[in-house]
């Protein structure tokens, strides 16, 4: 501990009121900035669903209007998105399956050639 104190010549008298004020005001301003952002984005969803709430209120009264403020959880959205994606992928798979069973006719292939097969190769060497 003594070594650290020797390495760091701490002089508390160097700290003046102006330094403490700057630190205090600075920290408070950071808080205020983010607190204002918090306020705005806490109220924003209510503001954005305002028209929907009014519409629901006209259609089904207060009970239905409360639905407008209901937020879907991210994981519910993710589950729905996954289900849709899987469904669409499935459709795609069916489509490719049909394409792959289409018959392709080839008049010639070296694999079924009677001229260049292994037995004939020996004969040619002779």
């Amino acid at each position: 501990m003594t070594t650290i104190v020797h390495l760091l010549p701490i002089d508390l008298s160097a700290i003046g009121h102006e330094h403490l004020t700057l630190a205090l005001i600075g920290y408070s301003i950071v808080f205020i900035s983010l607190f204002l952002l918090f306020l705005v984005f806490s109220m924003l969803p209510k503001f954005l669903t305002r028209n929907l709430r009014r519409k629901f209120q006209k259609e089904g009264g207060e009970e239905k209007a409360a639905l407008a403020g209901t937020m879907v959880q991210g994981e519910v959205s993710a589950a729905i998105a996954t289900a849709i994606s899987l469904y669409l992928e499935e459709l795609h798979d069916e489509e490719t399956a049909i394409l792959t069973i289409k018959k392709v006719g080839k008049s010639y292939s070296p694999w079924n050639s009677k001229i260049y097969n292994v037995i004939n190769f020996n004969r040619f060497q002779r």
Binding site: P9, I10, D11, L12, A14, I15, S33, L36, V72, G74
Partner: protein
């Protein structure tokens, strides 16, 4: 013969000092940790290599124009981007294009954790004053507590350009060592029961909210702390490019090619700026000690504030105090540390999405803090 003598005199071997050797070792250590343990390799490899380049000794001011501090040298031109504060905003543009603010928008109260975790900046500022640093120097050192390399470089380029090297090296080194610094503090300040708290899953966020966020956040923070505009302006522009979905090409360039180019030049020049002749001073040592303290205080500030918030929140809305530690803006490293620590307490408790909220709020918080310091001290 005279030519040979001059050649030998100009060689690195003739000008080698123990300081150069020490710094070369530090550079090699950076490269080793980056490659072997993958500690922030994208930053530590260019910085480590820069340290090697900056510490190969040569005869300074002999008309060779080699050193980073010699006017007219290539490295000096590249270093201008650091000294004039050009690179940090460009990095912020890329970060903005990469950042997803939806965890923050879905749970806005977590923004306060991003503010609380800036505690280290202001306490370290006071600490630096007590160590004899001047006001602008102390502010530049304090900003290390924001755990944000570009912000630290930006503020020190404005307030204390002569300290950019040690400040940047301290900031990036401690960011690489984040798990070692944060974990003991998180454990010390929380009980096992608190670490097991499961938070409500975040709600889904609409596209309109995502588009409104950068615009509203810029207007709010910009009017409060105009000094933060170069950083936050670019951060929110990058985010708008991403979220608007109509400027995908620009967003892609900002978050890939551009940020990569700037990172290479920034890392290299910051590394090269640590020439033993200017870097190895007692001041640098003090900066390293203060930097570590700043990280610790910031972590503690976030965790303790989360605990205070829990006193006012209902049981179902309670916050896992570990995520307060992610309020330091090292994105996404501190959120990953929180995730790992959360998993240790409860293997089913995934905190990463929740921790990303204070993490990105911390980026905004530290940039605002830098803006405030600039407004006060410039």
């Amino acid at each position: 013969m005279e030519g040979i003598v001059r050649f030998v005199e100009n060689s690195g071997f003739a000008n080698l000092t123990p300081g150069h050797l020490l710094m070369i070792l530090v550079g090699l250590l950076f490269i080793f940790f980056a490659i072997r343990y993958e500690y922030k390799p994208l930053l530590l490899v260019p910085i480590g290599f820069g340290i090697l380049i900056g510490n190969i000794p040569f005869v300074e001011h002999a008309g060779l124009h080699l050193g980073i501090y010699e006017e007219g040298s290539v490295m000096n031109y590249l270093y201008m981007g650091v000294l004039k504060g050009i690179f940090p905003p460009l990095i912020f543009l890329g970060i903005g294009a990469m950042t997803d603010f939806s965890p923050l928008i879905s749970n806005p109260k977590l923004m306060l954790l991003g503010a609380a975790a800036q505690l280290g900046i202001f306490l370290t500022y006071i600490g630096a004053i007590s160590l004899g640093f001047t006001n602008p120097e102390a502010a530049s050192i304090g900003i290390i507590g924001g755990a944000d390399g570009p912000t630290a470089i930006f503020l020190s380029s404005k307030l204390a350009p002569h300290l950019i090297g040690p400040i940047a090296i301290a900031a990036y080194s401690y960011m690489a060592l984040l798990p070692l610094i944060q974990t003991p503090i998180m454990r010390l300040l929380t009980t096992k029961k608190e670490r097991r708290i499961k938070m409500k899953p975040p709600r889904s966020v609409s596209k309109l909210e995502k588009i409104l966020f950068p615009v509203v956040a810029l207007l709010l923070t910009g009017f409060i702390a105009p000094g933060s505009l170069p950083l936050l302006g670019m951060l929110f522009l990058g985010n708008l490019l991403k979220e608007s979905m109509v400027t995908q090409r620009l967003a892609d360039t900002a978050k890939n090619t551009m940020i990569d180019i700037v990172t290479i030049i920034l890392g290299l020049t910051i590394g090269a700026s640590t020439q033993a002749t200017t870097f190895l001073t007692q001041q640098s040592l003090h900066i390293f000690v203060l930097g570590a303290t700043a990280f610790m205080f910031s972590t503690a500030g976030g965790v303790l504030f989360a605990k205070i918030m829990n006193l006012f929140l209902s049981t179902e809305n309670r916050i896992n105090p570990l995520i307060g530690a992610a309020g330091v803006s090292a994105v996404p490293d501190s959120a990953l540390v929180v995730q790992m620590e959360g998993l240790k307490a409860d293997p089913d408790n995934h905190l990463i999405m929740h921790a990303m909220a204070p993490n990105v709020a911390g980026v905004i918080g530290s940039a605002v803090a830098a803006g405030i310091m600039m407004s006060f001290l410039l």
